[in-house]
């Protein structure tokens, strides 16, 4: 009795977690699947039907009378209405009002006496007893069952035509220096705050904790003015990569110092004291002992900063231009949302390219990310 109650509870736990996991992964899965679908299919059916055959209505115009050939005393125009080899015709017609009046293999008699036959594989023949005239070909309406088709075409298109490829490089250009440069600056400051006694240390730590939550919005306008001023003074453009690298460094420093200080303060005091007894200076201790020992904390911060700079939209919109060699992925994606709002094949493929690098970083370095989160938040509580 108790055992059955417990096992039903365990089952309930399994099922609820499964439900939550599905809820949380379905949005991303939908994006990924859609980005790989044929764009005509993507536009007319939901991604959850991606594996089933979809029905499409096509309108094809047969070649004009100049293509007719004489065969057994009759005049024939032939061709294929389908360009997709796996597709099958399920019905056809020649009038807008009745686009699916005939089954494949049947022969429809057109208004001028010509006879139209469309086979299941899409092959059609228009047969006439007299030479056909006129300038335009006959319109044929086809209802076709098209098997699901997966392709990298969407990716090929966005990487080249939509400028996602260029933006990918731009995002890397922003993120790499913005991630690496602050680390050393922050590490020295964190060491001073953790292990060097000096008046005002407590106040400085409090300032860093306070700066952790200062909204970026406060900095935007003053810095924009400052950048414009400096740019005008030096005769340089105000929006440059150097400007955004420095901005990312400035905004990332409080978290970097906070994380690293917490970590360094937890290192055993004995190591440093014995080194000091041996005559090592603070500089030596930092470079030879603290820095190597702090690697996990440095890695945590680097991952945070990389994700943050790669995913950032606001700072890039304010401090970086919108030219083809400056627009970052997030900015490009926002532009595409405006200009290509209905073209889901472009949006889904572009979005997936923008999130693939963070996802790789996330899955390969998750351990450090979790450690950093814990160090950054739980300590405050």
């Amino acid at each position: 009795m108790i055992a059955s109650k417990r096992s039903s509870l365990v089952l309930f736990v399994h099922l609820s977690v499964l439900l939550l996991v599905i809820l949380w992964t379905i949005p991303t899965a939908g994006l990924l699947i859609s980005s790989l679908r044929d764009k005509d299919q993507l536009a007319v059916s939901g991604w959850w039907t991606a594996l089933s055959t979809s029905s499409q209505n096509l309108t094809v115009r047969a070649p004009g009378p100049e293509a007719q050939q004489q065969r057994d005393g009759k005049f024939v125009i032939s061709g294929n209405v389908l360009d997709n080899p796996g597709a099958k015709v399920s019905a056809f017609g020649f009038r807008t009002q009745e686009p699916a009046a005939f089954e494949p293999g049947q022969t429809a008699t057109l208004s001028d006496g010509e006879r139209l036959t469309v086979q299941e594989d899409g092959a059609f023949e228009i047969v006439s007893d007299v030479a056909m005239e006129g300038s335009r070909g006959q319109r044929i309406f086809v209802q076709a069952a098209v098997p699901s088709r997966f392709t990298f075409d969407n990716y090929r298109e966005v990487l080249n035509a939509e400028g996602i490829g260029a933006s990918f490089i731009n995002s890397l250009t922003v993120a790499i220096p913005s991630t690496i440069i602050p680390i050393l600056v922050a590490a020295f400051a964190a060491y001073a705050l953790a292990w060097m006694p000096f008046p005002g240390r407590t106040i400085l730590i409090a300032v860093v904790v306070g700066l952790l939550v200062v909204p970026l919005q406060m900095s935007l306008i003053p810095l924009l003015k400052l950048y414009n001023g400096v740019g005008a003074f030096l005769g340089l453009p105000a929006k440059t990569y150097v400007g955004i690298w420095l901005a990312h460094m400035g905004f990332g420093l409080p978290l970097a110092i906070y994380l690293l200080r917490n970590y360094m303060a937890g290192l055993p005091r004995e190591i440093m004291e014995s080194a000091r007894v041996d005559g090592a200076s603070d500089f030596d201790i930092f470079v030879k002992i603290i820095l190597p020992l702090s690697f996990p904390a440095l890695a945590s911060f680097a991952i945070f900063q990389f994700l943050w700079t790669w995913n950032d939209l606001l700072i890039a919109m304010v401090f970086l231009g919108t030219g083809n060699n400056e627009l970052v992925l997030t900015g490009r994606l926002v532009n595409l949302l405006g200009s290509r709002g209905g073209n889901w094949e472009i949006l889904t493929a572009s979005a997936f390219i923008t999130i693939i690098i963070p996802l790789i970083v996330f899955f390969s370095l998750q351990r450090y990310l979790v450690r950093g989160l814990l160090a950054g938040s739980v300590k405050g509580g």
Binding site: L9, L20, F198, P254, D282, L313, L359
Partner: protein, 336 residues
């Protein structure tokens, strides 16, 4: 490619410059105040002086950058908020008076409070539930990784993902948006979700909850594991059931962590910008403060006075949490 090379070169140059600065200033300090090879009083005096200066050499680059990028702008923004659009003429409280009479601003404040009420609560709630449930099953870590994953996705990327889910096609045609497909499968009319006032705010909030639940889950999961087992065992012996153990034994012991998670998400919510910009750009009554501020920063050539005034409001909303954080950190340091 060429620019990527430039980025890598800059990175190396930047790191080398930092290293050169730290190494060089230390060397100079040791040359000016040598303590090795000097006798008695002179050596200890030099050592004292150099020990007093050295921390500031270590701190200087970080303090300098933080001052320029974070501290100075706070004062400058406050100053600008009392000036006109160009920042030249003093206008007193005119920007603030305009703000509180502006319908769009009041809409933003209202929406921001909605966000503040809903997002931290839901993200913390789901995070706590998932943390508690996944601790009991063998594939818990896989489940956690998958729920944590949206954390790595940018707000803009997440917006595209969810815009696809909310996609709307006219009734009668096949829906390719998941939400409308579900709704029509149950026999209801499809809706253009983004354009329904008030409710559309909640559809936007769902995106941030989706992203932030993983964060709450990771932190709370660690906190749950940190609970001393004796307390749970004692409760089991006393005959408490699962729910009682969870709500009466475990939750009270992790209140501090729940508060930290809650406030961290609250601060994020106050700054929410990308999602609104990408999804609606404030149309259909979904405007929020951060997007409004960005809008005024460039609207009509840029109104720095009004933009700064809105930024100051965001800052004021953050201040209580900032004070609370600083007090906690101070308490923590005394404990060390």
């Amino acid at each position: 490619m060429q620019q990527l090379l430039m980025a890598v070169i800059t990175m190396v140059a930047g790191v080398l410059a930092c290293a050169a600065y730290f190494y060089g200033t230390n060397l100079i300090l040791d040359l000016i105040f040598p303590s090795k090879g000097r006798s008695g009083a002179k050596a200890s005096r030099n050592l004292r002086i150099s020990n007093a200066i050295r921390p500031w050499l270590f701190l200087f680059p970080a303090l300098f950058a933080m001052t320029i990028y974070l501290i100075y702008p706070v004062f400058e923004s406050v100053w600008l908020s009392f000036h006109d659009r160009t920042g030249q003429t003093f206008v007193g409280g005119a920007n603030y008076v305009w703000m509180f009479n502006d319908g769009e601003f009041r809409q933003s404040i209202f929406n921001n409070f909605l966000w503040l009420l809903v997002v931290p609560a839901l993200a913390t709630f789901f995070g706590l539930i998932i943390a508690a449930l996944t601790d009991r099953i063998w594939w818990g870590n896989i489940a956690k990784t998958l729920i944590f994953m949206p954390m790595a996705i940018s707000f803009v990327g997440a917006s595209v993902i969810w815009k696809f889910i909310y996609d709307y096609r006219a009734a009668g045609t096949e829906q390719i948006g998941l939400l409308n497909a579900v709704v029509t499968a149950f026999g209801f009319e499809p809706q253009a979700w983004m354009t329904i006032p008030l409710w559309n705010n909640f559809f936007l909030m769902a995106i941030l909850v989706w992203i932030q639940t993983g964060f709450a889950m990771v932190i709370l999961s660690a906190a749950l594991r940190g609970i001393p087992e004796e307390t749970v065992e004692a409760a089991v012996i006393d005959g408490a059931n699962g729910f009682q153990i969870f709500f009466k034994i475990m939750i009270p012991q992790i209140w501090g962590t729940i508060a930290v998670v809650w406030t961290t998400i609250t601060i994020l919510v106050l700054k929410v910008f990308d999602i609104v910009l990408a999804m609606t750009n404030g149309q259909w009554q979904t405007q929020v403060l951060a997007n409004l501020m960005f809008d005024w920063m460039f609207r009509g050539g840029g109104d720095f006075g009004r933009g700064a005034a809105i930024a100051v409001v965001i800052m004021l909303l953050v201040v209580p949490i900032m004070v609370w954080n600083i007090r906690n950190a101070a308490k923590e340091m005394k404990g060390h």
